[in-house]
Amino acid sequence: MTAMNMVQALNSAMDVMLDRDSNVLIFGEDVGFFGGVFRVTDGLQRRYGEQRVFDAPIAEGGQIAVAIGMGAYGLRPVVECQFADYIYPAFDQLVSEAARLRYRSAGEFNAPITVRAPYGGGIFGGQTHSQSPEGLFTHVCGLKTVIPSNPYDAKGLLISAIEDDDPVLFFEPKRLYAGPFDGHYEKPVETWAKHAAGEVPIGHYSIPLGKAAVVRAGEALTILAYGTMVHVALAATVATGVDAEILDLRTLMPIDIEAITMSVEKTGRCLIVHEATRTSGYGAELSALVQERCFYHLEAPILRVTGWDTPYPREFEWEYFPGPLRVAEAISKIMAG
């Protein structure tokens, strides 16, 4: 075990996979010589050569298409999409091609590709460097969607994603790269050094896709969260003193329905938190699942705390960001219900 921030943990995951499997290639904008704008691929080209870690033309549609062709050949390409906000030019290749290749060829071809993309706000990136587009992809059958919330999970989940034979979208909460962030933007920036999940094994290990983690056990209500919002939910729980059970979903598709129902049946209350916009967001799916399966255990309406249904406004980052005050208010509301 060694101390790693999320950037180092993700780098270590790719390092491990490049070392273990010659079919793993890594490419994307600025990922080669430069090591990526967030430094996630730092040093990998030097270690594994330009044949395996290389820069790609600025054409996300082309990058994903090329990855699909490589996957059909038998490689396991990992593409870095520089920001999740830039993924839309590749939408057709992801939705119509990668997601459906196994299906339409009745299993003859598949696209074992991983698309990494830094996502979410909290870094004053404005509309085009802050979005959370996961809901667009969880709606697509054939894709898997993964979002880690800490270095330990990030490495284990990324290794699973690369080893997975289906296409995986791997969204990295960029505000968590350097340290945990609970939404208290006014406090000094924390690092992962003091966090238990900042201790990461150097070698190979994996965390299965489709499994949630209980980050705080509790009896009073269930909070479903992922990515940065896991830490916000924890802060809000501490602030309210409510004995909440917090589930870090980790994989959104396929979703760990057992963990969710088990928790909500126990607590009888459910709050859903995500940074993405609300309408038709992933929280709507979670809310429907909980309602369908746990209705007779519920003692209060399910609530959602999410980003507002607006583009991410550059100057009003903290008014937009679903911070601990809004989460705490929702907790209180559910507990009063």
Partner: protein, 398 residues
Amino acid sequence: MPDFGYLQLPKAGDAKRPDPGVMAAATHDLAYGLVRVIDDQGAAVGAWDPKLDAETLRRGLRVMLLTRIFDDRMFKAQRQGKTPFYMKCTGEEAVAVAQGLVLNRDDMCFASYRQQGLLIARDWPIFDLMCQIYSNSDDRLKGRQLPVLYSVREAGFFSLSGNLGTQFPQAVGWAMASAYKRDTKIAAAWIGEGASAEGDFHHALTFAAVYHAPVILNLVNNQWAISSSQDVAGGEETTFASRAIGFGIPGIRVDGNDFLAVHAVTSWAAERARTNRGPTLIEHFTYRAAPHSTSDDPGRYRPGDEHKYWPLGDPILRLKAHLEHIGEWDEKRHIALTAEIEAHVDAANRKAQQLGVHGGGPYHDSSTMFEDVYKDMPWHLREQQAELKRFTAGKAKP
């Protein structure tokens, strides 16, 4: 009478043939010219004559004829209601057939929907294609795909997408993978002149050029994208082959109705790719004699008999004329071959129809629709499959 006088058609044999290892910059004239080999008398002329033996020529003729008769039979089957949809490649047979004979069987083809000739040239049974067209109980794609959107990994034929152009850059990725693995296999892709307006076309050329991918990028200019003529895709001001010049790769315009010319140009590009000299863009200049699909009525946007006036003729008749010119074929043999192929197609069709047709079945079990969405079926699909089965128990259809 349609007027094709605006076409400037160089004479057969006029085009120069550079060495396949030449710099791309030395090939620019080929992007604006037209490689033609078979002249009006049926003789093979010029530097691009691939000098094929008579057996190969007769094989080319047989496969093109089989493709055309197969197409006609399937078109009829659609009119009879046995399949909802079909697409013929009539008039364009030389493109896929000649290329299918040049490429190795393990080279991967990322075809568009009008290259059934590739599979037929690779001796893939037409019976199997028919089962897909009928979506019957033997359909390898289990009734999931629109007719003609085949996938035959065993025959080096990549799964066809109904989204045009998407396969073009995928072929580049496959070729990059082959090069990375020090493999000798190459990839080939096909796109129509209409879909070349898509970003995918430009992505493919960019990535192929940047990474020197061993890929042959084929643009089939058959003049028509459903009802839109090639000038709507930007074909009026310059040639499609010349798009390659801006990317620094060779672009060659070839008479797509000339079996020998397509064969020769494809061999040139394949040699270039296999010797690590990178990609080539080939524009196949041809004419879509068929409707776009069985759902199309070309009489609404072009004269019904326009294809008969296409100055580059019919690919089958032109290869036949060449074989006759060199004394290796005659009308009697042609009639006998046609009859033999018709009998073969009819027999395959009867056998396929016995295994089910559209609208009547039998099909695969409908619950198989939940398979292959993912490698392992997640819980929500298992639940949905069980739900469907409750409704379909004991019944053919819900």
